[in-house]
């Protein structure tokens, strides 16, 4: 069984890893010369990348944990309810209509509105179908996501080539464009969402047994389920708005962590935030240094690492002993 000491052992290298990611760049390893404007700009750029990566990774991992519990589907991730397609369409509309030149906030705002509108549409339709059961929500999410993706393709077919390039690059996922005010706003939204999820950690634990069992255990499922889905979508939408589509983080981080912490969300959620954030920062460091000076989209790196790693996890069927709630206190 994992003890507090073992948890500390796993947490201890994280500040060093983040420091390494801060020092490593396409221009080489080391502290930039802050006496020069170029050095200061370089340091600020790297700091922004590390901070953005950490916030986005934490948001996607926690959203993945919550979605997998509520939907009782191990393949559920933040984008399963059409959030990614909605975010893409929102961002594509902003780019295609040239609104991104009005304000740097226009693109993230468009992506956020698109993602949130997609979730609203999915929930409304699922409610009309008859229930908010996991299967209904997932099926509605898949169909709505497909329709929104088709609309995106339609938009791309009419867009100018420059806009097509911008939209495609954005869809591949990257952490380049976040300014400090924007990042502060996104971090605030993500903190709010993760806080709401942690407040519902006991409901998430009960919901793993199904909505009926959770009801019998005293969970107000009609309030808790929409609240959790809303908070997870808020986190995912905030992440999408600043980074584009970054896949696999919300899938593999929770799956890998459950083997160490067990299914208890009071352990799982904080661990997902810390390790998910660190995982994405590491992936982004690889993305900007692997083929330096050429940079590859971080979404490509997370998929290339996440895909095989997820397959490896699937072959390891026996989970490890979990971290008990009392043990980490």
């Amino acid at each position: 069984m994992l003890t507090t000491r073992q948890l500390i052992f796993w947490l201890l290298p994280i500040p060093f890893l983040l420091a390494f990611c801060l020092l490593e760049g396409s221009s080489g390893f080391g502290w930039p010369d802050t006496a020069t404007p170029t050095g200061r700009a370089l340091l600020e750029l790297r700091l922004s990348r590390v901070a953005t990566g950490w916030v986005v990774g934490a948001a996607l991992s926690c959203a993945g944990c919550a979605m997998q519990a509520v939907l009782r589907n191990p393949l559920a991730e933040p984008y399963v309810l059409g959030v990614s397609s909605g975010g893409c369409l929102g961002a594509a509309l902003v780019i295609a209509f040239g609104l991104s030149v009005i304000s740097p906030l226009a693109l993230p705002f468009g992506a956020f509105v698109g993602a949130a509108a997609a979730l609203l549409l999915v929930c409304t339709l699922a409610g009309r179908v008859g229930s908010y059961t996991p299967n209904t929500l997932i099926l509605t999410g898949v169909v709505v996501g497909s329709i929104l993706s088709s609309l995106l393709m339609l938009l791309l077919s009419f867009a100018q080539s420059r806009a097509v390039h911008s939209i495609t690059w954005w869809m591949l996922g990257n952490l380049q464009s976040a300014s400090w005010p924007l990042l502060a706003m996104i971090a605030g939204l993500v903190a709010l969402a993760i806080g709401a999820l942690f407040a519902e950690a006991r409901s998430l634990n009960a919901l793993l047994l199904g909505a009926e069992a959770a009801h019998n255990l005293g969970v107000r499922t009609r309030i808790a389920v929409p609240l959790i889905l809303g908070a997870a979508t808020l986190a995912a939408a905030a992440a999408v708005s600043v980074s584009g589509i970054i896949g696999f983080v919300g899938l593999i981080v929770p799956h890998a962590l459950r083997r160490f912490t067990g299914a208890n969300h009071r352990m799982l959620l904080p661990c997902a935030a810390v390790f998910g954030g660190t995982f994405l920062v590491l992936c982004d460091t690889l993305a900007r240094t692997l083929f330096a000076p050429h940079e590859i989209p971080v979404g490509v790196v997370t998929s290339l690492i996440g895909g095989p790693f997820f397959l490896f996890l699937l072959t390891q069927t026996r989970p490890a002993a979990p971290l008990r709630e009392k043990a980490a206190q």
Partner: protein, 255 residues
Amino acid sequence: MITLEHVTARYGENIVLNDVSFTVGRGEMLALVGPNGAGKSSLLRVITGQLPAQGTARVCGTDTVRLCPRTRAKTLAVVPQEIARDIPFAARDFVLLGRTASLPRFGGPSDADDDAVRDAMLLTETWNLRDRLLPEMSGGERQRLALAMALAGKPEILLLDEPTSHLDLRHRAEIMRLLTRLNREQRTTILMVVHDLTLASQFFSRLILLSASRVLADGAPADVLRPDLLETAYACPVRVIPLPGVSATCVLPKL
């Protein structure tokens, strides 16, 4: 403790309970019997407030749908027919779920919560499994843990949906003895769905026979386990054989 008056419940157009009325007093121990699809599980869902129904359904004098969820969970615990086997909960954390209604939103479990969990696990002989994961356990062990989870909340009413279905003879007898003891010593009200009519006659002083969404009979085992009533309910010829030396009746289908 539980009052149902002219309760009618539907899934869409399909009536699953039709004009069902009965009361269960404090400290009673009764079994719900009847064929598949008779409405036994639906009846439990009406009592837990999950299935809205016409008529009156009250627990401790309050309408089941209007009961505050936390109050309801502290009063009434449910042992389901089966629990998912693929959730990587440690047994102790799983049983702690039974205290969800008492636990603070942010804080950890108190000593009282830990004591309640340990007591429930000792009662159900699952304390030795406390650090094992659910996916590593047999169906019988998971079923005993489900009972421990329900007992951890120290409920006044225990609803059980065939809790002995995955248990071998020894564990089945032990669970039934435990339920009888809880009922006798702590006056826990017990309402249990049972398919095994012989088991029902051995351990319960009152049976309710449901058939085609209605109450066909309500009374002592000798009054309910009659060939004519059982043949009507199960649409199957049966032999009812009183067992000498024990207050139980063996019910067999005629082949």
